[in-house]
């Protein structure tokens, strides 16, 4: 007899979602989370006494509403401090551009671009809908043709047909080029181009001219099929999402244990049997579901010696580079951004003046260096949620593109310089902000890797590139949430459909496991 029906490694949102659906299907489930709190990258941390911040992910823009509903997350404490915020692309001469749903404001956008934008978004919505049919199911397999896969393929195919010939051939063309070219051929405004291009590269180690960036743009845009027209802010920081999920699945009978780091996945022959914890404790289960990234799962937890070499080689080849860092500032007062009122500061602010600026920022990453002028995705969460800081004081949080995982000089010698560089970048739009800083924190890709346990610090647990998505995510032999080891499954962002707080990997995995039933 085993201790549990299923042990889930990692209590990130995908692990918890998977656990919850398995519990709903009557399984006895244990979630083992290495960190002290559940939620994984959906986390809140007091980085300076009295100042709290979402210390990894900061926005919600693609979480599946089905998951919010299925787990009654609202009644378990999830609430939004702000929903569907506008994006404001900052301009040094205060000619800011405000993007909200289909509408554009400011920055002298031409009427042609207004129309172009509507047309562009209409087209993207069609493509995102097409993705939806693939994202909300297990990915089809490349070779074997199961009817379920055929169904997904058919939906994709029908969807493609539904697109019409022009849209379809355009999609085939776009998906292979890059966001830089697409923006150039679509819009006249450089400010608009850059703002949208930033969405394509955030969380990736790619620049606007890199191939794959139309796919990553669509991956983010997919959020529109989940009811988002902009980013939303969770009250209490994203840790509240982790807490709500954890509470909800606990109510469903799942046991969630934190501070429990799994050191190995145990197996007999070719069946997973349990896990060993850092404490030395052994736990057994009839299935092990890992939400740790695939490289961690197979290289570290299972060990390459326990899988066939071709498979191990594919896992080892998974690209897990990151160029994304986080910066958190504790501020004694609300900073003054030139040309923005308080209502505007509640929105999502981005600094990416031109696509070439992003591309130049990206150049540094190619050589494992820090950008001179990084592109930034900024939130001042305390405006929508004063509970995060002492009264009258504020927090600024920013996603920073690009910082390498392992700069040649080492982070020790670069940390302060880079922090100041990022603050200096903000200072150009918010003069005097550096004087308000009473605490600061930089989380580099290697810090994020160490804290959240994801290889390379990669946002998606493995880059989201054409060779690592859909039926080849994370790699042949581990698609459809199954692995070469019987009873071992994947359910994290490293599997289809990838990262971002979405919950679909966890949900699809649970469905697949339940479907396989005792056949597994």
């Amino acid at each position: 007899m085993t201790d549990f029906d299923a042990i889930i490694i990692g209590g990130g949102h995908n692990g918890l979602v998977c656990a919850g659906y398995l519990a709903k299907a009557g399984k006895k489930v244990l979630v083992l989370e290495a960190r002290s709190v559940p939620g994984g990258c959906a986390a809140t941390n007091e980085f300076v006494p009295g100042f709290k911040v979402s210390n990894c992910a900061q926005w919600l823009y693609q979480l599946s509403p089905a998951i919010i509903k299925d787990f009654k997350l609202k009644s378990h404490g999830l609430s939004f401090a702000a929903e569907n915020l506008a994006t404001i692309a900052l301009d040094a001469s205060e000619n800011h551009l405000r993007i909200s749903g289909d509408s554009l404001e400011g920055a002298g956008i031409s009427s042609e671009d207004h129309e172009n934008f509507r047309v562009f978004r209409r087209k993207m919505r069609k493509y995102a809908k097409l993705m939806q049919s693939a994202y909300e199911a297990r990915p089809p397999k490349l070779v074997e043709h199961d009817w379920r896969d055929k169904f997904t393929m058919a939906k994709l195919g029908l969807g493609m047909k539904g697109l019409g010939k022009d849209d379809m051939s355009d999609l085939m063309r776009l998906i292979l080029i890059n966001i830089f070219d697409v923006m150039n051929e679509t819009f006249a405004s450089e400010q608009l181009r850059a703002a949208l291009a930033l969405d394509a590269v955030i969380g990736t180690p790619m620049g606007p001219r890199s191939p794959n960036t139309v796919f990553t743009y669509l991956h983010r845009f997919f959020g529109e099929t989940q009811g988002f027209t902009g980013v939303s802010q969770v009250a209490g920081g994203l840790g509240a999402l982790g807490d709500a999920l954890s509470q909800s699945v606990t109510a469903l009978g799942v046991e969630v244990r934190c501070n429990q780091s799994v050191t190995s996945i145990n197996k007999t022959h070719d069946k997973a049997t349990g896990v060993t914890l850092a404490s030395g404790e052994n736990l057994s289960a009839s299935m092990i579901v890992s939400s740790a990234d695939p490289v961690t799962t197979f290289r570290t937890l299972l060990g390459y010696s326990n899988v066939e070499t071709g498979f191990a080689r594919r896992i080892e080849h998974i690209r897990t580079k990151s160029g994304t860092a986080k910066i958190h500032l504790a501020l004694t007062a609300l900073p003054n951004f030139k040309g923005l009122d308080e209502a505007a500061l509640k929105q999502r602010l981005i600094i990416a003046p031109t696509m070439n600026d992003i591309e130049r920022a990206f150049n540094a990453l190619k050589y494992d260096e820090c950008s001179d002028h990084p592109a930034l995705d900024i939130s001042i969460p305390t405006l929508n949620d004063p509970s995060l800081a002492p009264p009258g004081q504020h927090v600024l949080s920013a996603i920073v593109q690009y910082a390498p995982h392992s700069p040649k000089a080492g982070w020790d010698s670069l940390r302060e310089t880079f922090l100041d560089r990022v603050i200096g970048e903000i200072e150009r739009y918010a003069p005097g902000i550096s004087d308000l800083v009473c605490g600061k924190e930089l989380l580099t890709p290697s810090d994020l890797e160490a804290d959240f346990g994801m290889t390379g610090g990669n946002w998606h647990h493995g880059e989201l590139t054409m060779d690592q998505v859909l039926m080849t995510r994370p790699a042949h032999g581990a698609t459809q949430y199954r692995t070469p080891i019987n009873g071992l499954y994947l359910c994290g962002a490293g599997s289809h459909p990838g990262g971002g707080l979405m919950g679909l990997a966890g949900k699809n995995a649970a469905q697949e496991i339940i479907r396989l039933g005792d056949a597994a």
Binding site: D270, R299, S305, E308, T309, A312, R313, G477
Partner: protein, 394 residues
């Protein structure tokens, strides 16, 4: 180090100075970048040296890898299809290894030099794959190809010749056994192995001792009619005794370009090398599935009427083509016309009769022969002396 010859851009083996001298007809081939003789003076006579007296073959180009470290045995057990734990100390085992799809990448021999000290000889350059296989294991792998010179000394008088050279009591060495002797102030390693199916040995020394080894061996073997032989004679001998060759009888799996062209060990008649009881080895899952589903092809040794070697022939059943020949030779000792064929399942059962469609040319005139053939139950040449211990003296 092996040196490259500037004129030919080919590598030369440590025996090259001696081989060159004896290669009377100057018929050279390319073995993995090494210049090696196809024939020295006459293919048939070279072949008969192997079967009647002693033949010497320079196998220095063979890729040799040393695998050591606490996980060496476990590592090899994962890499190859057979159970390496069953290869005793100072013993040698023939094996194949597969990719995950259960398709044969290469074949070779494993020499167990210590509990966790092995030498692997392979046809293919294998460093890349060996290193990939090493992920997760505490092993170290080094390429010894350039650090070991080797001669195959094969034939009925080989034991006597080598004993004459000073390898005392060699006759007590069992097939697939190995042993060390002092030689010129160094160790010489000898194994009772070979690719001819005859009584025979392989002798391993440092490149510095290669020339003295050759000289002393030919001196000791003079009265026993020792002769060098090239790869053409070897080919006849190995076909006669049923040994397949990588790159000829199967496409090394990771070199395959066209899907479906590779073969599993089962399809090469090597079931006996596959230990499905081992919990994990590369290709296991696929091979289990193949066992359940059935193989696509069967390896068959065919005895063909007439004396026209059936190179590249189609094998016909009625007017239906059911397979192709991968290796063929007229085998002088067995006095048989032998071919290895890949036949589509379920064809190829022992005793089945087919027709080989043979084409041959005489003075620009092509002739087609439809030669009846029959599936043999095993290699046609398999003499007692190959296995007898003590080896028979001469």
């Amino acid at each position: 180090m092996n040196t490259a010859n500037r004129a030919t851009m080919m590598l030369e083996t440590p025996f090259h100075s001696r081989v060159k001298e004896l290669c009377q007809i100057n018929d050279w081939g390319n073995w993995m970048g090494f210049t090696t003789p196809n024939a020295f003076f006459d293919v048939e006579l070279e072949y008969f040296a192997v079967r009647s007296t002693t033949g010497v073959f320079d196998l220095s180009p063979m890729n040799k890898y040393r695998i050591t470290g606490p996980d060496a045995e476990a590592y090899l057990n994962k890499m190859v299809t057979r159970n390496v734990s069953k290869i005793g100390l100072n013993r040698v085992g023939y094996t194949v290894w597969c990719n995950d799809a259960g398709q044969v990448m290469d074949d070779g021999t494993i020499f167990r030099l210590g509990p966790n000290d092995f030498r692997l000889c392979s046809y293919q350059r294998a460093t890349d794959w060996l290193l990939w296989c090493a992920m997760g294991f505490d092993v170290s792998i080094s390429d010894e190809t350039d650090h070991l010179a080797a001669l195959a000394v094969q034939g009925p008088t080989s034991c006597t010749t080598l004993t004459q050279m000073g390898l005392h009591d060699l006759n007590t060495l069992k097939p697939f056994g190995m042993r060390e002797y002092d030689f010129e102030g160094e160790k010489l390693m000898i194994s009772r192995t070979g690719f001819t199916g005859d009584l025979g040995y392989e002798v391993w020394v440092s490149p510095e001792r290669a020339e003295p080894l050759w000289d002393q061996l030919f001196e000791a073997g003079r009265d026993y009619l020792i002769k060098p032989f090239g790869s053409y004679a070897l080919d006849i001998a190995r076909i006669e005794t049923g040994f397949i060759q990588a790159g000829v009888d199967f496409v090394p799996a990771e070199e395959m370009v066209r899907p479906g062209r590779t073969r599993s060990p089962f399809e090469l008649g090597l079931d006996w090398l596959v230990d499905l009881e081992k919990p994990l080895f590369n290709g296991r899952k696929s091979l289990i599935a193949e066992k359940e589903k059935g193989s696509r092809y069967r390896f068959a040794i065919l005895n063909i009427d007439g004396n026209k070697p059936a190179d590249h022939s189609f094998i016909l059943k009625g007017d239906q083509q059911i397979g192709t020949v991968t290796s063929a030779a007229w085998c002088p000792t067995a006095k048989s016309n032998i071919a290895f064929a890949q036949l589509e399942m379920p064809e190829g059962g022992v005793g089945q009769e087919y027709v080989a469609e043979i084409y041959y040319q005489r003075e620009l005139h092509w002739t087609r022969v439809l030669a009846p053939c029959r599936v043999l139950d095993g290699p046609i040449f398999n003499p007692k002396r190959r296995r007898q211990t003590p080896a028979i003296p001469h």
